[in-house]
Amino acid sequence: MSQLEVNKVIPQSGTTLTVGESGDTITIPSGATFDASNATTTLPSTVVTTTGTQTLTNKTIDASQLVDASVSNAKLANSSITLNGNAVSLGGTASIASGMFRNIIINGDMSIAQRGTSKANVGFEYGTVDRFQTLQGGLGQFTQTQDSDVPTGQGFAKSLKMACTTADTSPASGDELYIRQIFEGQNLQYLKKGTANAQSLTVSFWVKSNKTGTYIVELFDLDNSRHINKSYTINSADTWEQKTITYAGDTTGTFDNDNGASLHLAFMLGSGSDFNSGTLQTSWGTSTPANRQVGQVNLADSTSNYINITGVQLEAGTTASDFEFLPYDVNENRCLRYFEEFTGANTHGGLYSGSTYIGHLQYKVRKRTRPTLNNVTGNAYTSISNSSGGDKGGTDNMYFNGNANMYIVTLSIDAEL
């Protein structure tokens, strides 16, 4: 191969210089530097890629010159992305997995416990941690606590603990025990349940127990009496483990678009044969009690048994995203929609008519529905009313009445599902 050595090549005439002919390959050897920093360079309409890493240093890409949809299957680093300017809109089948309030569970970090931090012999009730209801149907006895045992380095401060205090090694057929959260139908409409576009749901959570083995997590459609139940395994005793379960979307049965109970997510803890003698119902179907806890270990078979759960997240889609931590006040306000512990410290009324005095109580947050009032302490009140309206409190017809000496000190306001 002949070699031409010159310091400069310029056009013989005009301003155009051609190197090679159509079909030729122009090679710049390895280690050579192609310096066009002082020139205006026009690249061909199609840039042929090369192997190796190409670095674009201190340069700006003029987005207006990019052909629409020319960036496909972009691979972005698994770290935060800073967006400058307008909002991002999603099209096609894109989901809002990274959006705010993607967690359908309220208080999934177990941080709010208005009713107290410990409840012995917890029954069919909301015992300690807000929004988590225990359904105790005769399977041993348990103490429920808001516990400080949490997975290390995950950002959680609290967990919900169930510790067996009275064992039941031979459950009666109708015994059952589970922890659940119930959701309003009006908050679930975007799941498109009961349509051909029904969304899958994925639950993720941290769990720890001395009792290893198979556990069941259930989704139950309370509007249409349908359920789907899937299992997970606690592999190591006394060790925090994170679990993820995905449920297919249900194309049958729509959720009512109201403030009533439409869906629950339940952590099963044991049962009698009425609930475990069939085949685990791993696809959506009509309610079959015997298919709900098949294979589930009996957490009540020893007073040494316990389970801790935290970081519960239920979200649309087939993948679990990082737990969505909310500010404490936001989390608390979401819980207050369902329950509020009023401590008025001598809330006195005023004269209404004749010798009848009434006093109004304003709820901190508008309630889901007209609430039940209980655990009342005070003096000389004869009745309490929230007769009409009544989900706001205050002048919304929530009052207590009695004589001039009446006052209210404490009151539980319960609008739970």
Partner: protein, 61 residues
């Protein structure tokens, strides 16, 4: 509130003379449940208790 624990239930009239609430006594607590509130879970329990034979006392306004 569990229907098994209900020992009595009584209508409570408001200052306008309406059956505003149902006072429910259970083994361990006293509840003021709004009347005609189908989305209230305790009202639902009372309906089940009535279906099982329970009767709400009505002493009038």
């Amino acid at each position: 509130m569990n229907k098994e624990n209900i020992t009595s239930a009584e209508y409570i009239y408001d200052i306008h003379g309406h059956k505003g609430m149902i006072k429910v006594i259970t083994n361990d607590n006293r509840y003021w449940v709004p009347n005609n509130a189908p989305e209230n879970k305790d009202y639902q329990v009372i309906q089940e208790w009535i279906a099982d034979g329970g009767t709400i006392i009505d002493n009038g306004a």
